[in-house]
Symmetry: C2
Subunit: 329 residues, 2 copies
């Protein structure tokens, strides 16, 4: 389990790390037990515990026959020592979190994922990939996105690395872009890459779902300042002024109190407001981004009386699904 037994080379540092690892694996350890494991005297263990405490890790200790050491929750998170399976679980969890099934932490998840993927041994990366593949069918909403791609982009931003990738513009034309990535931004239902386009010599925002194939890294990026300083604001501006079609939100009226409905609708995807006329037992649900078929289905799952207010396409979609299900019996 990654214990190495390198105690030969850097005795005390290696031992401190090993000690931390042991303390994370099990909650309670007695001094002699630890001394035995680490092949040092009990006195040294006591001193090591003191050192870890000095480093900020809160190690509690209890005297008595049932006593021992335990690592508690402190002011800072200690270095996490994960075994293989746990690391895979973390990576997979971050991928789903990044794909937006959570709301509010997508960008952080991508950052953490980028960090993790860089350190992940190959054998584990393959396992993550395999699990991710069987899972991708779960992507329920919004454009399908690729967590690996996001992690790659985020790494490039963090490490100031140039990227070259194929990009399909909205009119369908493919082009190859040489860029210096600066930020990955999540708009609530779409991912964007803010980068300096070396050929066009200007800032551009790229829709991540339109990037084709694997980006190729190449060379260092120069330090540049995004106009306005805030990547998110930059994306906002460029898609507002831009040629982006603003997605049409879907609106559905539900016969139930707003609070009851809000509790069952993910806040990141839709907002719930009491119906003006009949606020006590009806409310209106509006999607955050554009409407989508899955949104409709979520609403149907509520098992409450619905009324599609718009747009007409949403109503048409409702009819289609209703017909499908009706015909299935």
């Amino acid at each position: 389990m990654g214990c190495h037994d390198v105690a030969v080379s850097v005795p005390t540092s290696a031992r401190l790390l090993a000690l931390l690892s042991l303390l994370q694996q099990r909650r309670e350890w007695s001094g002699p037990e630890l001394a035995d494991r680490l092949e040092v005297g009990p006195r040294t263990i006591r001193r090591d515990v003191d050192k870890l405490r000095g480093l900020g890790y809160p190690i509690e200790a209890a005297p008595g026959v049932a006593g021992g050491y335990r690592l508690g929750a402190g002011a800072d998170l200690p270095p996490l020592l994960l075994d293989d399976a746990e690391a895979v679980a973390v990576a997979v969890g971050l991928r789903t979190a990044a794909s937006g099934s959570i709301g509010g932490i997508e960008e952080t998840s991508v950052r953490a994922l980028a960090k993790l993927e860089q350190l992940l041994p190959d054998r584990l990366r393959r396992r993550v990939q395999a699990l991710g593949d069987t899972t991708s069918a779960f992507q329920i909403d919004g454009p399908r996105i690729d967590a690996d791609l996001l992690a790659t982009l985020a790494s490039a931003c963090r490490d100031h690395e140039r990227l070259r990738f194929g990009y399909g513009a909205k009119d369908g034309t493919q082009s190859s872009r040489e860029t210096e990535p600066h930020a990955v931004v999540h708009s609530g239902w779409r991912w964007y890459l803010v980068a300096w386009d070396l050929d066009r010599e200007d800032w551009r925002t790229f829709r991540v779902d339109r990037i084709a194939g694997r980006p190729v890294a190449g060379g260092r990026a120069r330090a540049r300042e995004i106009p306005g300083g805030d990547p998110a604001a930059f994306v906002q501006r460029s898609i507002r002024q831009g040629d982006e079609v603003t997605p049409v939100p879907g609106r559905i009226r539900v016969r139930a109190r707003a609070e009851a409905v809000a509790a069952r609708v993910p806040a990141s995807r839709a907002t719930v407001a009491p119906d003006g006329d009949d606020g006590d037992d009806a409310c209106i649900v509006t999607t955050t981004g554009g409407w989508s078929r899955p949104f409709l289905v979520w609403m149907a799952l509520l098992d409450l009386e619905l009324e599609v207010l718009g747009p007409p396409e949403l109503a048409a979609e409702a009819r289609t699904i209703a017909t499908r299900l009706g015909a299935a019996i």
Copy 2:
């Protein structure tokens, strides 16, 4: 960002940890840069890098003016040094992974979550909680489960701690159980706790979704051997012989090739097989656990011609949803 500057107390160990942290934060660092950050001479940095290499961390270095150090992927995962936001993202990701939206790694996720939650500073735990709450509405399938509760149970198993909790049996009677938890098992769509029941003096399996309130920890558990050794097998036996109602799987016929459908249905939730009569352009999808309303909805989302084969309740459900959507227009 958790830098501490405790370089006073345990110089080299603290510095090694800090160095590892820096190398995880950014991909590329030059020697003088690191020396400056850690307030030591460049020579010491070189030596520290060597030490880390000796500990098994693959640090690559490039000479030349564009050179520097970078931490690569090695045989083992180095201790992960996460900042606050990243730690929260990891915790949230693990919670969703544990709630079964992934398939195949639920139990590992719970283990990792237990480890993480024990180390998580309070302020971060609160943030995780908050995010988890707004998210819980997303639980789409199976009984609603509480990731916190699972983590608590997993901790107790790992640490051999007794737990007392309220339990609602299937006939509705509430009782208080004093247990020594031994394993948390995921059956594919339900969670079970395998524990020694101190009052009944025998092994029991508890359905986690029937545990009421927060379990209370109390005292050490004695080491005991689960009959048969394998907790999963034990759960299998006890729910098979047991009074558990085996859930009725749902079966739906889809007019499309099996491979095409399989790619869009999470393997952990349902199996896809070619239709005997008409294998080339029809297949039958069978749920792993019992059928559920969300399962039906997944199928409707495929936008393919469906036929509900059974059970009758599933057909009735389809009719209900179809009616709801039909009436919504």
